[in-house]
Symmetry: D2
């Protein structure tokens, strides 16, 4: 029994309707290595707990995770440190501010990033990942990704990681501000290197959908039934995906689509419909809030057609 | 088949465990007429779509809706004006700012309240309620409340309404700011009178739970099956209850409890578990964010015990 | 011995050079009654302590004081209440924010307008003017103006006052916010009426220059030698004119011109060069900060030509 | 002809009256190397254009310049780059925000530090100092200091410089934010090193007073009459000292004292009374705004006694 899309052709039809909206968007240009992608391509995969999957659109395109990785490191940090440690240092509240905003760090007393999905919070989360050095920590993140996707060959794109490392001065500003406040204690350049690699992890939409499916499946591997993430942590991650997953368009997305989802400036979106399926989307042209413009449209159409909203 | 609490005694037991937390909270004192309530009382009602209900705690206490009324007027405004009109004037994004904050009205361009659950947004929403004059508009709100609760005797508490009208200078500041920006066009004192009455609408926890049940039941009257709210609008209201229902503790509440709920500074909470039941709670002692401190604890216990989280 | 301009023709020459800049500005349109003035006219008067005066430009034009009145009411409030009372309620610090900003009232704790030259501060100052009712208070302000100008015929423009009273919703928002914080205690509409009248006081550039000369002359009437303002209060007023007199262009003005001056959105500027002379300017076309664009240019030219900067 | 203090004993008397206020202040502790100074010591020097000087208090104490150095680098940057270059990148407006605030960099569009006296602006100014490398740039700053003080032996305190370099994460945050915005283009660690050294330049109160005297003397060396700073630049520096020299207590200081002055968190104050004299003060105990608490009191007493206010 499937609760939504039953055939690849149905999915192809939805992709065809969503794709033209890409023309109204723009590929992110602030990370040089990302700016060369063709913004008009659109690819989507669905992955069901029973192992069935569908892929439609422009082949199974490869994307870098960017902010989607924030969900993965949040799960790992919660497993490494526990809820109390994590949420003493990073808040749980959505914000109307842009994802890269620094002002709230100054005006909130004591200083604390509002949630793990904005850049400040995500940097603080990554600094909680255990490991003796940068090498061990990125290995642990990658190993976790291998488990979630069942694909041990996945790694990060060195060129994209380097490009981000070289240009992310705003993230450095956030890190140093948090170092001043004692939220981050490690060397900032080391953290920046780790964070840049995490954002540059590459995969196709099907792997993205598989990860979404693990969260949808309460943290268990759909194939083996093994628990990869404690149930409570999977739930926490899905909750943040609803309240803060789509930058400062999360509220509108919750109303129009109503599923847990996390986007990245690469144009990727990972969706996770509790108990139902995982979704992986890639469409590089972004709207003004930084979300895949055709990807959002595709999810809106799917939500209406299959009544996906949780609310 | 019930999905949660099966007996009043079970509910009494949970209330007994939550009640002591009231001692750590404080009854709201900024509205003089609210400050005289006994903060240690706690009352809860559950209302199921099949008509069954349970009430436990200190009798079926009477409360004023305060901010809970924001959900009701949002539904009515959406029915009166349609989604486009409403969301052109009021945003859909949660905010990390306090419910009565004015700063964002100034810094966001064009000026627009971030969502209908903060005071600025709720005042703008109330100004959209149709009616020839103040009398007709409060009558329409009350009539809608009568339908939702099945209780045609409900009205507002004149003393509380007057007390709020006399002292809500911050709400007046919000109104005049929005009048300057063209979001509100009517006479501010008239709007303040209407808004004060709406906040002062009185009912018991069982009626509150019944209203929650209508939203849980996709907008249909559980008794008659008649549609009182279009399904889409009921869904939109529940979505806002998740993303912005508990002031700037909404994110934490979504993680710890995970159900649509709206609180008021009177100490009331209306919960609405999609497809399952409505909840009405009253415990006047508030935490620092303005939510019923024992009420939140009670919902946390219920959420854990009955696995209520949607995520 | 004069320290600056020695002849009307010299002044005419400077006016002729400054006047063309008016084309780059715009007459204020947010107060309907002000928007009908010809923005290209420019008029200037100088008034020396020895009684000598020069007027040049487009005749001796009549203007309403608008924000220039903030200096006058500050002097009167300081005489009415003393420094301690006044500065417990209104700060002394310049701000980089616009003159009508409300955000700082919220973020500063305890809430207090930053200085008497922004709208919030000026409204609080006007609320300190003594008098049994609105009539007595505007009479006291007018009487003080009559003393400063030596012109007992001056009054306010009823049409402009009414126009401002009807449309100043932002000022109402500031008042109600301050009423909530206890900075303002009186009825807001009464205060708005008084403030609108104060802003609408009319005079020509020569009278404006005479007022400036009283401040320049340490508070003494240049003609009679009678003290109209205590020396300390005249000094305080001139200090605020330097640090906050030209809205959020005060810093640049201090660097480029370097004299105490206060502007209004009518396009008026009152200058006061300590020990030397008073200046009155009227040119209704404003720059983007709200200062007379040709007036500022004229003062820059005069400052360079006559080395007027105090620094 | 002297316009103020005529004898060292008079000055000693004033110091004796101001000194007890030090007990109400606190020595800065956020730069470890500064925290060990005895906060109750107080030292003052006056330097007149004719070469006469007075020193009183606890000997001629040595202090590090800290924020006082911002005036010196501003003068040098203006000589190196010209007004247009400098003020395109750094604003001229005072601000009510703390000296180390980052929020305004984000909210002002385009991003630009409000003035050269807050940390963000001062860092941008230092990045404008010409030189092939860090060594040449600090040498140029020191050489300029040697000229201004007539003391070629002055240098920076290596221990203090290192202590600041190691701990100034907030300044790093400001730099990276400005690097993202294109206001700063050089390597941040190099700039931090240079800035830390500039802040750690050491001298006694007499040298400080001599520097103040050069600015008071329109940029000319009082001894030789040689021009060290163009007159316009000396004037600009004095203007900023009035509008923004005492952190976000500048407005109050202008009212109570009324002279150009710049303070540092070391507890130093450099005063510059146009045409009259330079002042150097050192008293390490600070008030809550970061200004020498006894130093401010001393200046208030001097201002009243000798009518120093420019206004």
């Amino acid at each position: 029994m499937k609760l939504l899309c039953e055939s690849a052709s149905e999915l192809e039809h939805l992709v065809a309707m969503a794709k033209p909206f890409a023309k109204e968007g723009k590929v992110a240009d602030y990370i040089p290595a990302l700016s060369k992608v063709d913004g008009e391509l659109l690819s989507v995969s669905l992955f069901y707990p029973d192992g069935c999957s569908y892929t439609a659109g422009d082949g199974n395109l490869i994307l870098t995770l960017q902010s989607i990785s924030k969900v993965i490191t949040l799960a790992l940090a919660l497993m490494d440190r526990g809820e109390d440690f994590v949420f003493e240092r990073v808040g749980q509240e959505p914000t109307g501010d842009p994802f890269n905003s620094i002002a709230k760090l100054e005006t909130i007393n004591p200083s604390k990033p509002l949630n793990p999905m904005i850049n400040a919070g995500a940097l603080a989360i990554t600094s909680m990942i255990r490991g003796q050095d940068g090498a061990e920590r990125i290995d642990r993140i990658l190993h976790f990704i291998h488990e979630l996707t069942g694909n041990p060959g996945l790694s990060y794109n060195k060129k994209v990681a380097l490009s981000e490392y070289d240009t992310s001065h705003l993230n450095r500003a956030l890190c140093y501000f948090m170092k001043q406040s004692g939220i981050i204690n490690e060397d900032v350049e080391e953290l920046m290197e780790l964070y840049s690699k995490q954002c540059a992890i590459e995969m196709d939409c099907l792997s993205l959908a598989k990860m979404g499916c693990v969260f949808a499946n309460d943290g268990k591997d759909p194939a083996s039934g093994h628990r990869l993430i404690p149930s409570d942590i999977a739930r926490i991650c899905k909750t943040f995906m609803v309240t803060c997953g789509m930058y400062n368009a999360s509220g509108e997305f919750a109303i129009k689509v109503g599923i847990p989802a996390k986007s990245g400036v690469s144009g990727g979106i990972m969706g996770s419909i509790p108990g139902k399926c995982g979704i992986g989307i890639f469409g590089a042209a972004l709207d003004e809030k930084g979300n895949s413009i055709a990807g959002i449209r595709l999810l809106e159409m799917m939500s209406r057609k299959y009544s996906l909203s949780m609310f």
